[in-house]
Amino acid sequence: MQHSIKNYYINSIKNYTNQFEDTNFRRIACNDFKSWPSPREETWRLSRLGSLSRKKIKPINPNLKKNNYNTLNLIGSTIIQFVDGAYREDLSSKLPSGVNLSVLSDSESLKYLQKIKKSNLSDHPSTNVSLSCTPSIMKLTVSKDIKVKDFLEIIYEGGEDSKSVHPVLYLELEENSSLYLIERFNHLTSLAMPLQLIELRNKASLNSIKIFNDNEKTYNLSANCVYLSKESYLNSFSLIKGGIFTRSETHAYLNGCNAKLNLNGIYISCNKQHHDLTTAIYHDVPDCTSKQIVRGVLGGKSTGVFQGKVRVAKDAQRTDGQQMSRAILLSDTASANAKPELEIYADDVICAHGATVGELDDDQLFYLNSRGVHMDKAREILIKAFLEDMINQSVDNSLHDFVFKEAELALSSIITKETL
């Protein structure tokens, strides 16, 4: 029974890709999808897909007429809209000059596939399934020397029960360009498999905020592959709060000297949610910096996972790599796992890491109580403080309030639940 349902998904992908020539990137990707990752694979041990593999799901056939999305434009940004995994020009804003969005041709798509296949995301289910089933790979380019002033916002919506959606993006920041990108995942689908390849050319700078806020039944298996060239800068912040199971996996390759990476994340989990931030940072050349702060707040029967690998190659001298993760459990039935993994082959490096999982600090709670502050308010103050200073460090000033409110919305339900 289980076997046939697993095959149901594979067969439906096969059926779809069979209409293409066997050299087409979709066929190649499809042939590489043999099954869902097994819990025997180390990076999937703590985030098991058993219940997903037992669901009868089919890739969606995007409805290009769906038009019931009146997304609020909260931050005065330029909007790019994806519905059912397909780019919708009719629902998107006009792009600022120097920013270009196009559909990759089949031959370009094949190159895209080859680039991802060279990374450690080659076997990720979202790589193979999304490349098989995506309506098209969308390429977003910022031209050389262009500093985009307005925030650019990508909103992913749509999908339906028993369907999977496959938005695939290629983001290239040409030399010396810069962009502030906000992505919001608001799917109403059983499975979302966003796939991204990001290339930052020399001196390019990307600020990225991702907010995962899919429907309460959604599985989101986001996969991101990032290449950083000389003196480029990526400041990335993810807020994971939605879905029944959300895993954001990012592999970042520091390939050019003096590249700088911040890879921060917060997850806020309640009920039976499972949230997973899995990252791998590869220092392959000297003089690069990576900093990572991850924080989790968990209530109900939720589970959280942070897996953070940092690999420093033999030649990557003077690497500065910092990683800190902390999770706070607000209920006895919630649990969190932190798995830092340092592989250091160079000798002249500064690498620090720390990981803690615990409850709110009793001394701090008592101090607030002793000043007349109610227990539930005291907890709220401490949790917000725990997240707020990190949000302030991670995102642009003008977005503090917006991001903090997004976090607060998720927190409010946990805090009231856990203190009743």
Binding site: D362, D363, Q364, F366, Y367, L368, N369, S370, R371, G372, V373, H374, M375, K377, A378, I381, L382, K384, A385, F386, E388, D389
Partner: protein
């Protein structure tokens, strides 16, 4: 009726007897000093009064203005007018000083049936009190106690006391770690709050503080019991001869 009444308080921590029958009556307008060797139970007594989890009485009773505190949580006791200045004030990373004070003051005001202060009125009030304690505005913008020096932490405690206007304040070694000038500032701050309606209990190791905050009574706590109570002259005796004679005589 006493403002604070401790009757035969017994308390164990991890099966160890720490308080072994402490009794103390504090009346309106009085200042009491508690002295005693390290480990004699002074901080334990203050945590017990403030209602810290795990510091529940095994036997005995405590009354604040005639009302039993035993069933009240720490926050309720504080709102009712009990204040503890911590021996080791706790750092609250990410919690701004000003919003912390405001939360505390408004909780107390609500309890007293007073209107909550709006933001501007509050900031004005806080700045006024802060300047009296030589607490700079900049410190109120920082996270509570984070990166404060030992003396700054103690001054911030007394600033909180000034703003909360408690009926009974327990100051646990508020003088420790203060330089001569800061000791004067803190003592002036405390003295300014003395009135005929409230009471203060100072826990200290040093007679020096009692030159500034002159107590009506001095008590010696040893092994979890008060072994001697007298006037301010008792502190001078301790300063001169130490505790051993007093303990042996008890």
């Amino acid at each position: 009726m006493s403002l604070l009444e401790i009757k035969n308080a017994h308390l164990k921590l991890d099966d160890k007897n720490i308080l072994n029958g402490v009794s103390l009556s504090v009346n309106k307008g009085e200042v009491h000093a508690i002295m005693g060797p390290n480990g004699s139970g002074k901080s334990t007594l203050s945590y017990m009064l403030a209602g810290r989890d795990g510091y529940e009485l095994e036997k005995g009773e405590i009354l604040l203005d005639g009302i039993s505190l035993s069933e009240m949580e720490a926050d309720e006791r504080a709102r009712s007018g009990l204040f503890l200045a911590f021996q080791y004030p706790v750092e609250l990373p990410g919690v701004g000083g000003m919003s912390f004070l405001r939360e505390a003051v408004n909780s107390r005001r609500k309890f007293l049936g007073e209107e909550e202060l709006d933001h501007l009125a509050f900031v004005k009030e806080a700045r006024k009190e802060a300047s009296k304690m030589y607490v700079k505005d900049e410190m109120l913008k920082r996270a509570v106690n984070v990166g404060f020096s030992g003396g700054e932490k103690k001054r911030f405690e007394i600033l909180q006391m000034a703003m909360l206007k408690p009926t009974v304040s327990i100051l646990d070694e508020t003088d420790s770690g203060l330089d001569v000038d800061a000791l004067k500032i803190v003592s002036d701050g405390v003295n300014a709050q003395r009135n005929s309606e409230n009471a203060i209990v100072v826990i200290t190791h040093y007679q020096r503080l009692l030159d500034y905050i002159v107590p009506d009574f001095v008590h010696i706590l040893s092994d979890g019991v008060i072994i001697k109570s007298a006037g301010p002259e008792l502190a001078l005796e301790v300063e001169k001869n130490g505790y051993s004679g007093l303990i042996n005589a008890a």
